[in-house]
């Protein structure tokens, strides 16, 4: 997939992709005012006089927003700039009350870092690629314009005006839609681990500006276009596919790519030029004179670092080496912070007799299977980690078999009862009663003389058949270890 190519009439083309991801910083109050950031409130009810740019109002920065951006930078091994500054980006629009956005151009808070993506996310053994992050800076979000409420007017809602965003700017390091998709998913995963952004693309907490250009392999970068505000991973990939194809068509027809801002129309699956922002490229950036340089001290940085959780990549390696999980399981369990949290809560509830491996297998096959069927996220799983641990303990101590475990889990999902209660009430305890098992084994041997002869003649594989027959006869409640042992003895 690193050799993703677009076939054109003149040969193959390579696509070059850079992403600017805007991630809403998780905070109670806005970046420069004390208004709330809560989502979905009545229009203009979360607007301070600062957000409305009343005369004489001044910005005061929110420590938590700075802290979260710094922690995010640390999570991608980025250089943290102890000295940074806010600049004004000047342009006129109805969703921008001040007539400028407070952002960081010249001295961003976070410098270069790296995000490593798995080139085939389905295959944990597949090669990885390091995508460079150019910078992360902090800036204000704009308000919202509603165009469909009145025939001749647009309505302005400033609730989002001033909410803190991190702009995470990648280098033009991606070469395929899949790489870009993997990058966004990995970035979202990291943000959620760190807790600096909820990553909720539907609510607009994360959106991407997609920079695309094409070139013949080995040639210089071509002219790029920027498609704004793309709000899902799928759309990011679609934009790249469409835009690369469009650019190839334009170039092969002898045309030129215009550096411009485009908009994605998900209904038609295409991008189109936003000619309305004609002078958008003269933003007259200059340092915001209302704000002083932001200087971070060592104590602040130390706290940021100390408060970082274990991140997905190191955690995944640890799951493999310390917990002995397969590469696949370790990858699945660490991909999303909710899964990891659930898994670690499960491990914490499990006694020492349940192995991490068993817990991982159960979570990935049984729990995920059930959640898939129910169409639920792990965050609202009908079974909690303590209940899962109870079930796993019953399997581990031999009270029930794996097979019975699956049945018990289904009952748990249906009834909400605990595993212990289900096993007790329904008499599902597995038996290690050698007499009863031996009696059944004798019947199985008697009923299958030819197979016994084959087995004794060297067909070892038939052992599984005898185990199955015996278990079936025992109604699935026999202890498989005991069955194995007795069968071996009986078959000689």
């Amino acid at each position: 997939m690193s050799s993703y190519r677009i076939q054109g009439a003149t040969g193959d083309w390579e696509v070059v992709i850079g992403l600017e991801v805007h991630a809403q910083v998780t905070s109670n109050a806005k970046l420069f005012s004390g208004a709330s950031t809560a989502f979905g409130s009545e229009p203009n009810t979360q607007v301070s006089l600062v957000d409305a740019a009343m005369p004489g109002m001044l910005p005061t920065p929110n420590r938590e927003c700075i802290r979260q951006a710094v922690r995010t930078g640390m999570a991608i091994d980025a250089a943290i700039n102890k000295w940074s500054r806010f600049d004004r980006k000047n342009y006129f629009y109805a969703d921008l009350p001040q007539g400028y956005q407070i952002s960081q151009l010249y001295h961003p808070l976070v410098g270069e870092g790296t995000i490593t993506v798995q080139l085939d996310e389905k295959d944990p053994e597949s090669p990885v690629k390091a995508i460079g992050v150019e910078r992360i800076h902090v800036e204000q979000d704009a308000g919202k314009l509603m165009h469909d409420q009145h025939p001749t007017r647009s309505y302005v809602d400033l609730n989002r005006s001033g909410v803190a965003l991190m702009e995470i700017v990648s280098k033009p390091d991606m070469r395929s839609p899949a790489e870009a998709g993997a990058y966004v998913r990995k970035l979202r995963s990291i943000l959620r681990y760190v807790g600096s952004c909820d990553g909720n693309m539907e609510e607009g907490s994360m959106r991407a500006d997609v920079n695309v250009s094409v070139r013949k392999p080995g040639e210089e970068f071509g002219t790029r276009t920027e498609t704004k505000n793309v709000n899902s991973v799928r759309f990011v990939m679609a934009v790249i596919e469409h835009e690369a194809r469009r650019q190839v068509d334009v170039l092969e027809a002898g045309g030129k790519i215009v550096q411009e801002t485009r908009l994605y129309d998900p209904d038609r699956g295409e991008t189109r030029s936003m000619r309305s922002k004609e002078d958008a490229h003269d933003y007259r950036y200059f340092p915001d004179p209302d704000l002083l340089p932001l200087v971070l001290d060592d104590g602040f940085l130390a706290e940021c670092r100390a408060s970082l959780p274990e991140l997905p990549d190191p955690k995944r390696r640890r799951y493999e080496t310390e917990l002995g999980l397969s590469a696949y399981n370790a990858a699945v369990l660490t991909a999303e912070v909710e899964t990891t949290r659930w898994f670690e809560a499960l491990l914490a509830e499990c006694g020492s007799q349940v192995t991490a491996k068993a817990a991982a297998n159960w979570l990935i096959s049984d729990l995920f299977g059930a959640l898939n069927r129910l169409g639920r996220d792990i965050a609202d799983s009908p079974v909690n980690p303590a209940q899962g641990a109870e079930l796993l303990a019953l399997i581990a101590d031999g009270t029930i078999s794996n097979t019975l475990g699956k049945q018990v889990f289904e009952i748990m999902l249906e009834t909400g009862q605990g595993a212990g209660v289900i096993v007790e009430e329904r008499g599902l305890k597995q038996t290690s009663d050698t007499g009863a098992i031996e009696a059944e084994i004798a019947k199985v041997i008697a009923a299958n003389p030819d197979k016994v002869a084959d087995y004794r003649g060297g067909k070892d594989k038939l052992f599984g058949f005898f185990v199955g027959q015996t278990m079936k006869a025992m109604g699935g409640k026999a202890n498989p270890g005991v069955v194995n042992e007795l069968l071996k003895k009986a078959l000689g």
Partner: protein, 95 residues
């Protein structure tokens, strides 16, 4: 350099100030006069000099992440030339 009428109009447009051709024509020599005078700054040797960032040495204070501004929509909209249904209203924008 010299500021011509076209430049004056471009700057006026960037600054969102409607300006007639006559006004632009009148303004060009005026701005040239001022900008010509300003340009003497170019004489100053500023090698190794940092641009001023804080006139009195001071760094940014950070406030706590607390919501201190409750809903004050009525105050926010009170001076609006046109407010409807809790929104500010502007001429329809086609994006």
């Amino acid at each position: 350099m010299s500021v011509d009428t076209a430049t004056v109009k471009r700057i006026a447009s960037l600054a969102r100030i409607a300006i007639t051709d006559d006004e632009a024509q009148a303004m060009a020599p005026e701005l040239n006069n001022i900008l010509g005078w300003i340009e003497q700054l170019g004489e100053v040797d500023v090698t190794g000099i940092e641009p001023m960032t804080a006139v009195i040495p001071n760094t940014l204070r950070l406030r706590e992440d607390v919501v201190t501004e409750p809903d004050q929509r009525d105050l926010v909209l009170a001076n609006a030339p046109q407010a409807e249904h809790g929104f500010f209203a502007v001429p329809k924008v086609i994006e």
